[in-house]
């Protein structure tokens, strides 16, 4: 119940301000356009880089969104009020995780068509499998991202610390997601990239747990 209320609070805040989704989408569109301009290559050659480009884009977009997600808590000391209420800290973590997960998926929903339009991504039949990968990977990004930004944004160098810590921690997920996406786009057999799905899944489970357990130490004053 508590968790549901917290998620509702995050979503309502986003519905009213539309800060996260709008900034993430606009930034995503810009990055995709930049890639389209920078790699002005033949469409056939593109297919090789596409999975990497997709995840690079969403990693950058996530950073921007994560920096926003705790910025609103800083205003008028909203986080202090949240912490002084009798709420389990683990639930605050889960609520942040789930709401950010929803935001990033929303952003992807809005920007993925651009990959098709500009960068020749063939969505079509791959869509169901791809969505599965996206749902799982986004959860991993959100789990570790919420932890890192929860720490980073209350320090002096938050804007630098969040990406510096996030990229190395996320590297296995990024490798995995790129491999699975490439596999799906090349319509390889599912068994070939089982391993990568397992890596991302393990990461998601472990870091959700670690986050749930340690968020209390992060959020206390």
């Amino acid at each position: 119940m508590q968790l549901l209320t917290l998620i509702k609070k995050e979503l309502r805040q986003e519905m009213r301000s539309k800060e996260s989704i709008v900034s993430m989408t606009v930034f995503g569109v810009t990055v995709i356009l930049l890639f389209a301009f920078a790699f002005n290559a033949a469409p056939a050659e593109f297919q090789r880089f596409l999975p990497g480009l997709i995840w690079m884009t969403y990693l950058f977009v996530s950073i921007l969104g994560l920096l926003r997600s705790f910025a609103s808590e800083k205003e008028m000391d909203a986080f202090a009020a949240l912490l002084s209420s009798p709420i389990d800290r683990g639930n605050i973590f889960l609520a942040k995780l789930i709401s950010f997960w929803i935001f990033i998926m929303g952003t992807q929903l809005l920007t993925m068509p651009l990959f098709s339009a500009f960068l020749n991504l063939k969505l079509g039949l791959n869509l169901p499998l791809l969505s599965g990968v996206f749902i799982l990977t986004d959860w991993s990004i959100a789990a570790i991202g919420v932890m890192i930004s929860g720490m980073g944004l209350r320090t002096r160098m938050g804007e630098v610390l969040v990406p510096v810590l996030l990229f190395p921690l996320l590297s296995p997920v990024l490798i995995g997601a790129t491999k699975v996406t490439a596999g799906i786009l090349k319509s390889e057999a599912l068994a070939d990239f089982n391993f990568w799905v397992m890596i991302i899944l393990t990461f998601a489970v472990i870091f959700t747990l670690v986050g749930y357990l340690t968020f209390g130490s992060i959020s206390e004053e």
Partner: protein, 222 residues
């Protein structure tokens, strides 16, 4: 408070370590047998692997001390974690240097995406972040808490990174240490002696850093 070396115990440990390291160097250069095909390049194995061992010990220590710090909130454990993190990172950096030195003659190029080397690089980057958060994390009490959480996150991430990178670059198989044990028993003895002497260096470094950390703590309290 007295300086580190003014304690007899520390002095003895430092001198003992110095002698053992000299013996170790002598053994590696003059006694260790040549391995065919690798020649001199192989000798870095007596150096590179103990470095990795030290770095691993240091980071394992960070994990344990970080958990203890979060549970008990005793600054003692924070100083321990910091000492181990700094020592571990020095060794991680040395792995990143000695790995390419070995790889250049053997693989023909200084850097390949060899799983252990890549994992070490990512771990090294993570610990750069760890020291940054200690430096910029705000008040001592908060930044040490953040660092402890990060120490746990980093160590938990290592096996996942390793498996991912291992599967990502499966073509690379050869390591300095692989298949060497079968050549000559002397190699094994000298290797374990080297491991021992490097562990002693690590102990010296951690003890020295602990001493400095305690002095700093005293100054903060005063």
């Amino acid at each position: 408070m007295k300086s580190y070396l003014s304690y007899d115990k520390n002095k003895l440990l430092a001198i003992g370590t110095f002698i053992i390291v000299l013996v170790n160097l002598y053994l590696i250069i003059y006694v260790a047998p040549m391995v065919p095909e690798q020649e001199w390049a192989q000798r870095i194995f007596y150096y590179h692997v103990p470095l990795a061992w030290n770095s691993f010990l240091g980071y394992l220590g960070v994990l344990i001390c970080s958990i203890l710090y979060l549970v008990k909130r005793d600054p003692k454990w924070d100083i321990w974690a910091l000492s181990m993190a700094e020592s571990g990172t020095v060794f991680a950096f040395l792995i990143l240097i000695t790995g390419p030195i070995w790889a250049k003659p053997i693989w023909g190029s200084p850097w390949t995406w060899e799983p252990r080397l890549t994992t070490t690089l990512i771990l090294f980057l993570l610990y750069i972040g760890y020291f940054m958060i200690r430096e910029f994390g705000g008040p001592y009490e908060r930044s040490s808490r953040y660092a402890a959480v990060l120490g746990i996150l980093a160590f938990v991430d290592v096996p996942i990174i390793y498996f991912a990178v291992n599967f990502w670059a499966p073509g690379v198989q050869s390591h300095p240490q692989r298949g060497i044990g079968g050549h000559d028993p002397n190699i094994k003895y000298i290797f374990f002696f080297s491991l021992f002497s490097f562990t002693l260096i690590l102990i010296n470094m951690i003890r020295y850093r602990l001493h400095a950390g305690r002095l700093e703590q005293k100054r903060l309290e005063a």
